[in-house]
Amino acid sequence: MSRLSRRDFVVRSAAGAAALGAGNLLGSGALAAEEGAAMAIARWGGAQPGADGIDAAAVKLTEQAVAGIGGMKRFVGNGDVVWVKPNIAWDRTPELAANTNPDVVATVVRLCLEAGAKTVKVGDHTCNVATATYQSSGIAEAARRAGAEVVHVDPLRFRETAVKGERFDALKLYPEMLECDLLVNVPIVKHHGLATATLCMKNLMGLMDDRRRYHQALPDMLTDLTRFVKPRISILDGVRILTRGGPRGGNPEDVAVKMTVAAGVDVVALDAFGAELMGKKLDEVPSIGKAQAAELGTADYRSLSPREMNVS
């Protein structure tokens, strides 16, 4: 305990600040926050759009999915600082489905601003060189056009943070993301060689530094990380999904167009839905069972009676 005293202090003050922030939110919009479904799934019901139409459809799907859980006002307070956290990991173009769809991200940004956010930051801890990755993913430009502040993660500014998990005491996390009023988790549904699928929980790894060694214990680490971060809203991009060769991909043949966006408050349920979208059984994605056992959510997403919508 004495060894960690300084970190504890830092984290406690951060946690105190966060609690104050949450208190404010409860004071102002708490009642509204309880309304709305826990989960919504928007599927494209119209004709299969062409390559150009996918982008416009992604916008509608995202709008509908968010509306389905009660709209962004449920999560964003007036004057809030919001961090939208897509998956911007790889130096790949949107067609290769290695990063979150830029139109989904841009729509989330716009919805946050419309709901009263003061600042919407968009950024991720990339795997490839950040400047190139932000550019080729199309996210930097789309987010900027939607009014977001595109932020590069500074490798010097990660901070050893006491997460007090089951297996891990401390992880190196990015303070700027944690200290925002709201973190909007916007992952893409992707195949992953080791985790078999990368979804909402895996996307939170973008808050971390020194990630490599945690691949030995991904389910444990993801559970500890999710418990600490407690994402209040996740929007799962299933417009284009990567079915093989993930997480980095690169082969257009490995991409499937699913035209689906799901939103919700329960990351475990969303992950279970994402696994299903990929045609995987739940026990093939070990982090889902692990997180359910840790009571972070339910893998039986149907029990939440999600609002399912056909968008066209």
Partner: protein
């Protein structure tokens, strides 16, 4: 003592111009950064295009030069008219030596100027001629000591990383300090500095270079030599200065003393940058004159003046440096005798290859590469991952400070071709992205005594995750392992496909081991050296 005080003197104008050029050259180094890997700015290599030494030696050694280097003929043209004004007014290394010299003026009680012409100043011409003879046999090494190259390399690997480290580490320390202590007001100072330098000066993440200490040592030694003679480097050693000195043999712009008014006070000779004055200041060696105008400024009687004269007009006070044909031939023979010294390391004789000498994609076959590479460090500066590092011993003496990829420090980004786009001498050929994807620079191999799924039966697969080849040069096979209690379980064990692996090194870079990675890339299979391709393509696994 009725000296006229003039506000605007030629030497003052020259100092101002020097300062501007120094800032421009520093700005030029800062400009070359991997902001947008797709489009390297053509100005990244601008400074080297001013350099006739690189032009001439590359042409002699490799019998070919990129046409843009012909731009440096402008500098030769200027030298034919005005002498070595490039050295005196433009060269950033020269300006740094001036500044160092002024520093020593204050430190040394009796400044040892010795500003008379010394025959030792011929050294630079002998070195130039000797290396020109070696260049015929493909030795390009003198360009490693070209002043612009020296300046660029030192700034890139020593000065800039040092400054960035100091700024960023100190403000990061403040950022990470305890709240409630001095942190708040400390950060009120450090954060704006950090943000400004991060946005406008350094822009990219910190770089660090192996063996930068040696580069720093060379730089410091050259600076300290100013304590013995001002502008020691420029007078005695600089190969570019020697080259320009040859072209400044009889320039149009000449200096002469008005014998009527001169009282031989020697002030002009004492302040001469190039030690161009022989006798008591009334003679003048244009090949040594840097055009600094200190002589006209210091003269109380206005006796030292520059004028124009046709090249065929000889003037009695204008002297050549007396580089006799015999001495030049001797220097050339000396160069040939020294030639084997350049080829002493085993790799320089072909057939054997250093496993750690992983050249960037597009690098020519080793012999051809060394005929062109100046070790300027531009490729290292633009490498977005910081993986390109100066070779210290891996490429032999001839390949000192030439670029090699150290995957542990930074990998070769799959879609990036920056280093090949910026190379001023095309030692690294310009590659398109498609061609780059097909270019192998090495081959990865697992160390199964360390690799986590092999050695400890646990999951990992970070290397497979990062492998950029669309069909994955790293694949895994599920294998049964037995733990110490005799229980079996399956883990995914990674393998390398030698046909697909391009040696980019991202696997080695991302391997969880922070000391010696469990997958390492060696130069084997590199496209550029057919003799270093042990694995035949397209074979079946046995």
């Amino acid at each position: 003592m009725s000296r006229r005080r003039r506000i605007v003197t030629g030497a003052r104008v020259r100092r101002l111009v020097q300062l501007v050029f120094l800032l421009v050259f520093f700005g030029w180094v800062l400009l070359a950064r991997p902001v947008s890997p797709a489009e390297p700015h053509p100005w990244f290599k601008l400074g080297f295009l001013l350099d006739p030494l690189i032009l001439i030696f590359t042409w002699v050694a490799a019998h070919a030069v990129p046409l843009v280097l012909l731009f440096s003929l402008v500098v030769i043209g200027v030298t034919l008219v005005m002498g070595r004004v490039f050295c005196g007014w433009v060269c950033p290394l020269g300006t740094i030596h001036d500044v160092a010299g002024r520093g020593f003026d204050r430190l040394q009680r009796n400044p040892k100027r010795r500003d008379r012409w010394s025959r030792w100043q011929l050294t630079k011409y002998f070195v130039l001629v000797g290396f020109l003879a070696m260049a015929v046999f493909g030795v390009h090494w003198i360009c490693v000591f070209d002043p612009l190259v020296l300046f660029y390399r030192t700034t890139t690997t020593v000065l800039l990383p040092g400054a960035q480290w100091a700024v960023e580490e100190s403000s990061t320390a403040a950022f990470h300090s305890d709240p409630g202590t001095v942190r708040d007001w400390l950060m009120a100072v450090t954060e704006p500095v950090y943000d400004f330098t991060g946005d406008h000066v350094f822009v990219v993440k910190q770089q660090a270079f192996l063996g930068a200490g040696l580069i720093a040592l060379v730089f410091v030694v050259l600076l300290v030599l100013n304590a013995y003679r001002r502008r020691f480097w420029c007078r005695y050693l600089c190969p570019l200065g020697a080259l320009l000195g040859v072209f400044a043999w009889r320039p149009l712009l000449r200096r002469a003393i008005d014998k009527e008014t001169c009282n031989q006070c020697d002030l002009c000779a004492m302040r001469c940058h190039g030690a161009a004055a022989a006798e008591s200041g009334d003679r003048w060696k244009p090949s040594e004159c840097l055009g600094c105008l200190n002589c006209t400024e210091s003269c109380n009687r206005d006796s030292s003046r520059f004028h124009l004269a046709w090249p065929w007009r000889k003037e009695p006070t204008t002297e050549s440096v007396d580089l006799s044909l015999r001495a030049a031939l001797g220097a050339a023979v000396g160069g040939l005798i020294a030639l084997p010294l350049m080829r002493l390391s085993p790799q320089s004789r072909g057939k054997r290859f250093h496993p750690l000498l992983i050249r960037p994609p597009g690098a020519r076959e080793e012999r051809e590469f060394l005929k062109r590479c100046t070790s300027c460090g531009l490729c290292m500066k633009v490498c977005p991952t910081g993986g390109l590092q100066p070779a210290v011993s891996e490429a032999g003496l001839e390949g000192l400070w030439t670029p090699r990829l150290v995957p542990r420090l930074g990998y070769c980004e799959y879609d990036c071709t920056l280093c090949s786009q910026v190379c001023p001498t095309e030692a690294i050929r310009p590659l398109g992205v498609e061609e780059k994807h097909q270019t192998k620079i090495g081959l990865a191999a697992f160390d199964t005594t360390r690799c986590i799924p092999y050695a400890y039966g646990r999951e990992c697969m970070v290397c497979e995750e990062h492998c950029p080849v669309p069909d994955k040069a790293i694949y895994f096979i599920e294998a049964e392992v037995v733990d110490r209690d005799g229980m079996t379980k399956t883990v995914k064990q990674p393998h390398v496909d030698p046909d697909l692996c391009i040696g980019c090194g991202v696997c080695e870079n991302k391997c969880p081991y922070a000391d010696r990675p469990a997958i390492r890339v060696s130069s084997a299979n590199e496209t550029r050296n057919p003799d270093n391709q042990p694995i035949l393509p397209g074979g079946d696994i046995y």
